[in-house]
Structure formats: structure tokens, C-alpha cells
Amino acid sequence: MKLTKLTAVLCASVAMPAMATELEVTHWWTSGGEAAAVAELAKAFDAAGDKWVDGAIAGGGGTARPIMISRITGGDPMGATQFNHGQQALELVEAGLMLDLTDVAEANNWKEVIFPQSLLEACTVDGKIFCAPVNIHSPEWLWLSNKAYADAGIPVPANWDEFVASAPALEAAGKIPLALGNQPWQSNLAFGAMQIAVSGIDNWKAVNVDKNMDVAAGPEFAKVFAAAAEARKLAAKSTVQDWNQATNLVITGEAGGQIMGDWAQGEFQVAEQVAGTDYTCLPGLGLNAYLSTGGDAFYFPKNDDPEIEAAQKRLAAQLVSPEVQVAFNLKKGSLPIRGDIDLAAANDCMKKGLEILASGNLLPTGDMVWSPDVVKQAEDLMVEFWKSDMPAEDAHTKWVEILKTGL
């Protein structure tokens, strides 16, 4: 025990060129900015004397999971793999297929430096740490088109309530008030953002963290559904599929706004839009300055080869180190997982996010608190609710039933 700890400390001190080990890393970061960010991770790993073998697969968990499971059960696991942390990888950890990183975490003081701590908690199973968080993404942003509001001759709203109130004026000007793509996860994301905004933090926590089904079935959440039923009318004319087609409606001023995660920023940047003048971003829909903080983490499948295991631990330590965090997140456009570093180069919207982060107004994401099965069922329900005229009460009842399957 003492020996492994010692090795971990030694490894964590990075420069050990004598032990160059190849480590295959699977991830789904494949768009331009994402790839540049991964390059930073690999550069740092290679510079420390190991070899990063890249195994990029786009398509997120639905594509990555069969690959992971096959590789692990086929007896040929990769060295490390990206996952959204939380409940998605829980079963792999419980089955004893993942490497315990507790020694690395202790050696590098993760309990102190990782901020918010909820990220580390999502990596912890039975007091042991099984993943290394690398970044934070938050989904509850309202993106508004300044052009659309200029065309309609009204000021840009400052929060969700004003946004709803401004909708008739937008419609009169021939605009779609709310852009919403047809894919199920987008409806669920919009609903998640409205949950926090409309029901408030305490109620949200009671349902999603403490799993209080009485609150979930109660009047506060009936209000959320009523608000969502209003919001779907605003999105009735939105006929696009992909989230970025919806973002494009906002960019061109055909739509007033869109609820989408901070990754939408990339689309505005590519279209050479300037935050504040061309578009406006409202974290937490402008009502509650709260963000739920999901993100990405790396897991390390167990391997028989002690050299590979040592390399896995070296990589884990490195992912959380300040240098890698700065280099990676600047390229990725996401927020770092430690509070003790400075991201001076971040743009306006990111700075708003950083401020909220610094103030500690943070919540875990749905991925962390609910199983993928519940999330998927909720997505199915939400897309039906948002894209049809299902009564709010019915949707509410079904939603509570779905949550109960995950208790």
C-alpha cells in the first residue's frame, strides 16, 4: 500500500522519460476546437515521456459505450476513456473494471484543488475515486438575438419572464420567438433549464438530489410544466432538427432566442458575432444565477500490465494539473475544474460563467443525479410534450412516474 502510494507520488511528479508507455485514449472530441484541445492533453502527456495513442470516436456515449464494453469484455481495454461522469459509468466501476485513482487523488490533493467539489463527488464510489474530471459545461443558457429584437423594435430581454412577455411583439415582426431543434435531448435540456429557473433552487434540489417525489408531484413543479407549456407555443414554428440549425436561426435574427448549453458559443464565434452587440447570453435563463455543472471526465479501465497502470496514473494526475487545465480549457471553450487558475483569455459570456462558478452557485447536472435510463425516458417524454399539444398535467404525471423508475 505504502509502495503504491510512493510510486504514485513519483509518477505524479511527471518527468520519467525512462518509462515511455503507450496509452490508448478513447474520446469523442472531434470538432475543430475540441481536437485542438485534445492535442494539448496529448502534448503534455507525450512531453512527460509517454505516448498518447489517439482513439477518437464521435457521437457521444451512445456510440462510445458499446465500444468500451466490447473492448473491456473482449479482454483488450483501452488505456483511458472519456465519459460524462456520474451515473453513466457507475456500473463499470461497481463491476470492478475501472482503476482506483484514490492514491493519485490524495497525492495531488484533489480534495482541495478541484472546484466545485461536486465534480469529484461524481467520480467517487464507496469513498474511492475512479475518474479524473477535466472540464465543466453548463446547459442552462438563454441565447438571444439582438438583431431580432431590433427588428421588432423592442429592447433585448434581461431574463426568461421578459423573454416570454416579448414574444407577441416578436411574432408580430414575423419572428420565431424560441428556436428549438427536434432532437429529444434538446427538449429535455430546455425543460431542465426551466426547472431551475421556475421552481427555484431548493425545490430543484429536493426533487433531483434528495429524490423527494412529493415535491416532484407538487404544485411547484406543476408551475414548471405550465411554463413549459407556454414556452412550447413560442417554439411552435421552429422546424429544424439539429441544435446548431436552431442556433443559426438566432444568429440570422429569424428567431428571438434559444435555450442551449455553453457550447452554442462556438457557432456565434464562427459566424463572427460579438457577445453583447450581436447576441446576448443569459446564464440560468437570467432568473437564477445558478448553473448546473456537468462536464467530461476520464476513466481508466483496469489493466493487467503494471506499466500501463503506472502510465494511467501519470495521465490522471496530469489531466488535473494547472498547466494542462489552462491549456486545455482555453482551446475547448469550457471552464476549468479548479478554482486556483486564471483564465484571462475567456470572452464575455465565459466570464459570466466564471463569475457564477466563483460565487459557488452550482448544481450537479441531470446526468449526475439520474441514471441514463431515466434521462432517456425523460427525453422521450419531453420531446413529445414540447412538440405536440400534450396537456401539462399529463406530462407532469408521466414525468413523476419516470423519475420513480430511477429511485
Binding site: 456510440t63 459505450r65 463499470l92 427536434n182 432532437q183 422546424t239 432538427q241 435510463d373 432517456k376 405536440s388
Partner: protein, 330 residues
Amino acid sequence: MGGDPENRTLKLLKVGAARDLGGPFSALYSRGERMSGQPKRLLRNLNAKIAAIPMVLTTLVVFVGGTIWTVVYSFTDSKLLPRLRWVGFDQYERLWSNSRWMVSIENLMFFGVLSLVFTISVGFLLAVLMDQKIRYEDTFRTIMLYPFALSFIVTGLVWQWILNPQFGIEGIVRGWGWESFSFDPLNNPQTVLYGLLIAGLWQGTGFVMCLMLAGLRGIDEDIWKAARVDGIATWKTYLVVIVPMMRPVFITTLVIVAAGIIKLYDLVVAQTSGGPGGNASQVPAMYVYDYMFQAQNLGQGFAASTMMLLSVLIVLIPWAYLEFGGKKHG
């Protein structure tokens, strides 16, 4: 090699016709009954038996074994990893109380029938056109076939664009001055399956055409000559002589197209994501994959796929029984 050609063709024609009397699927199982009936073939056909080993192994180990495995695990609560923790029929109860699943099945039946009928009839008509000794046959064939080579993910996207009211066909026609023109199949739950059909036919008919063309080319030239000597009109020759002779090809096509329809997945994901209205174009395969890999609920995915396989068996077994049961020699 005796006899004049005409006599032989007429004989061939008769052989073809005689086969048709043997039952609806006689063409599928037409030959060889006589051979298998004979004894002491065990050693003499050693080569044939060795040649059949890959097929026997594949069917038993992969298809039968894999299916049993799937069915067994559909009675468990397997989530991310397969595990044997029994839950009885829970997965099935949940499946049949799920509105998305029910709609998926209805959609598949509607889409399946339309797609089957149109793919086969359009494919055959195109093959007949291509078989008229036309010039540039290679070019025409390649144009009809090229969609088959492209990935569904992007062709779904392209058709989504073309059918989109703002920047697709509707927008163009309105731009020409026909302001009231409306063509927006993908955003109306009533018509979305036709929108999928347009893209599905585009992708699949070319291959069916080739399949039919191969069938047409396999038909003896002498049969055409015989028909002409008898003064039968071309269209009638096709309908009365050629189509019955091509029954094996039609059945091949039927199976290929039907298997493709049941497994239909990528196109829907790319073109509609199962919408509009949340589930107006959902299909069963999408439910299976979503629950297996996105929801990490293998048990639920296996239950759904078991239902799909069961429905295939419901069609397949009576037919096979009819074929082999009816023909057994005493």
C-alpha cells in the same frame, strides 16, 4: 444436343410454368428434393458437406445462439452490462405500456407496406426500362445506384434540407412566384412517413433495380424468341412469362427490402430524429438502440428486439412449415 432451339425453349417455358404449380413458394424450394431422398449419399457428397460447414456453424452458433442469448437476457434487469438478475416479464410490461414503442410499431407497419410495394415495383420497372438495350446503360445504372453508396447520416441531412420549407423545394417554388405552394412533409405528423419514403426510395431502389436486372439477364434469350414467335405482346410477356420465372429474384428482393425496413434506423435519426410531435416517425430499431446504448438499459433493449424477432418468426415459421411439412416424402 438434339432438337431445334424452339422446341427446347418451349420445354424450358413449361419447366418454369410447372414449377409455379407447386405452391406459392415453390421457386424457393424447387429443386433437389429428389436428391436428398436417395440413400448412401453420406460419403459421395463429402465435398458438398464440407462446403456447408461454415453455414451450419454460423446459423447454429451465431444466429440461434445469439438469439437465445438475447431472449434470456431480456428477462433480466441488465443495465450497462449483461447480468443474470431475473425480473420475469417486467421489461415486457414496461415495453408494452410505453407509448413510444406502440407508435413505433404502427409506424413500421405503415411505412413497411408502402416501402415494400414501392421499392419492388419501382425497382422492377426501372430494370425493365434498363433492359431495353439502351445506350449509356452503365451511366444510367450508376446514377440510379450511387445513392446506395452514400452514408445515411448525410443523405438524411440532405433530404431534410431539400424537404425543409424554408430552404428546400417549397422555398424555391415560392421564390418563382407561386406563393401558396406548400410542400412540407417532414413537419406534419400526418405526412412525415412519406417524407422518409421519398428518401428511402431514393437510397434503395437503385439496388433493387440491379437485382431485378440480374434476374432479367438470367432469363434465356430463347424464351423471348419463343414468345415473339407466338406473337405475345411485350408487356404481356413480362407479366405472364417473365415475372413468374423471376419469382426467386422477387423473393430475394422481398427479404432484402423487408430486412432493411425492420432494421431501419440511421435514416430516421438523420432526417427526423423520430419527430415531429416527438414520435411521429419513431421506429422499433431506434427504440432498441436508444435503450440499449443511450439509456444503458440492455434488458429493455433486448425485450424490444425479442419482440421484433418474434414477429419475424411469426411470419417465417408457418411459411417454412408449409414448405417443408407439405413436401416430405413418405
